[in-house]
């Protein structure tokens, strides 16, 4: 009796895992695919197109981050996932630099407006705030040891910055009328937001913080 039961449970586990991974790949790949089919491609130079793809790619990478660090990925050993998180973070940084750099080459005055918070488009401010929060996270991650940040403080600082990055990026993406297809963009944004919220508000630091501040 026990053997078929066991078999069924591994099969069940396998299908859940397969479902997770295919949904994850679809959530990231479909927006990229739709972007690659955008009619706007015809009127944009390679540099501008590269900048746009770097933006879409960044949004996809943002979905990986909470899943990796939260250990939500089935069949991926937790220590590997934790090690992948800073690597994906570095990729994200490169993608954002390519995004902003490519836009700068395409139209310097528009990027200067965005960086100085004088742009006519509200989404620029959200994107620029997210960018600075990403830079700050990178700085903290690199100098975490030298700054002698305690694990709890690092966790709180990183969580708050991650919140700014995710909210900033999601609002930035939603407000833009660009190469992304609207529906797949909204789905990806919702997933990024939900995964981040689930991770951050499930962290132990908050309950520790609450109990320690009560004392």
């Amino acid at each position: 009796m026990s053997q078929p039961n066991k078999m069924r449970s591994t099969k069940h586990k396998f299908s859940r895992s397969a479902l997770f991974w295919s949904a994850l790949i679809a959530a990231i790949a479909i927006p990229l695919l739709f972007t690659a089919m955008s009619p706007l491609l015809a009127w944009r130079s390679p540099v501008y197109i590269a900048a746009c793809f770097a933006g879409v790619f960044s949004l996809g990478l943002l979905l990986l981050q909470p899943l990796l660090i939260g250990g939500y990925m089935p069949d991926l050993p937790k220590h590997l996932a934790r090690r992948a998180h800073p690597c994906v973070g570095a990729l994200l940084l490169i993608a954002v630099v390519v995004h902003v750099g490519g836009l700068w080459i395409t139209s310097p005055p528009d990027v200067i407006d965005a960086l100085t918070f004088t742009s006519p488009t509200p989404f620029s401010n959200w994107g620029v705030v997210a960018m600075w929060a990403l830079f700050a996270t990178t700085f903290l991650a690199i100098f975490r040891r030298r700054l002698q940040l305690r694990a709890r403080n690092w966790s709180i600082a990183h969580s708050l910055l991650a919140l700014v990055i995710v909210i900033g990026t999601v609002v930035h993406a939603i407000l833009i009328e660009g190469m992304m297809e609207t529906f797949s963009k909204l789905i990806l944004c919702a997933l990024v937001f939900t995964a981040t919220m689930k991770l951050i508000f499930g962290l132990r630091v908050w309950s520790d913080w609450r109990t320690s501040s009560k004392r």
Binding site: S45, P109, D110, D113, T121, I176, E177, G178
Partner: protein, 162 residues
Amino acid sequence: MSTDQINRRRFITATGAMIATGASGLLLPAHASNLAPTPTMRGGSNNYRPGAPIVERIGGGGFWMSGTVRRTGDGAPLAGQRIQIWAHTTEGYESEPQSHGATLTDENGKFRLEMPQIVPAFGQPHGHLAYDSGEYKTVFLRPVMPSSKDTNLEAHFVLEPA
């Protein structure tokens, strides 16, 4: 039932008269005495190339940019004013010379210039217009299209003497 008809007719004329007087009452002050100048919009001067030539049409056309030019105070239309127009279109970037052109206002202060279809750039489908001829203070506008499928866009100037 003729009285009913008369009543309805009276009602309609009375309402019509009320709307007409109400609407003109709302509109008149704007024309009357103290029309404020149009402020330059944020990002309006981005990728501006001074001295765009007056053209029949920018590129192949298919899209219409139109508007009016009036002066502050009494709102009188200004004829013969040079308005420069540029945008990211199907034929080029904002920064490229072929995307730029200028036109003059007619005796009613109206202008209209055909240009290639504007496509969304930097997150919004938008155009750029400039009044930069010296007689009045320089104004840069950056109107946004309600839909990127639109094939026309309007922008209106109220200019203040320099």
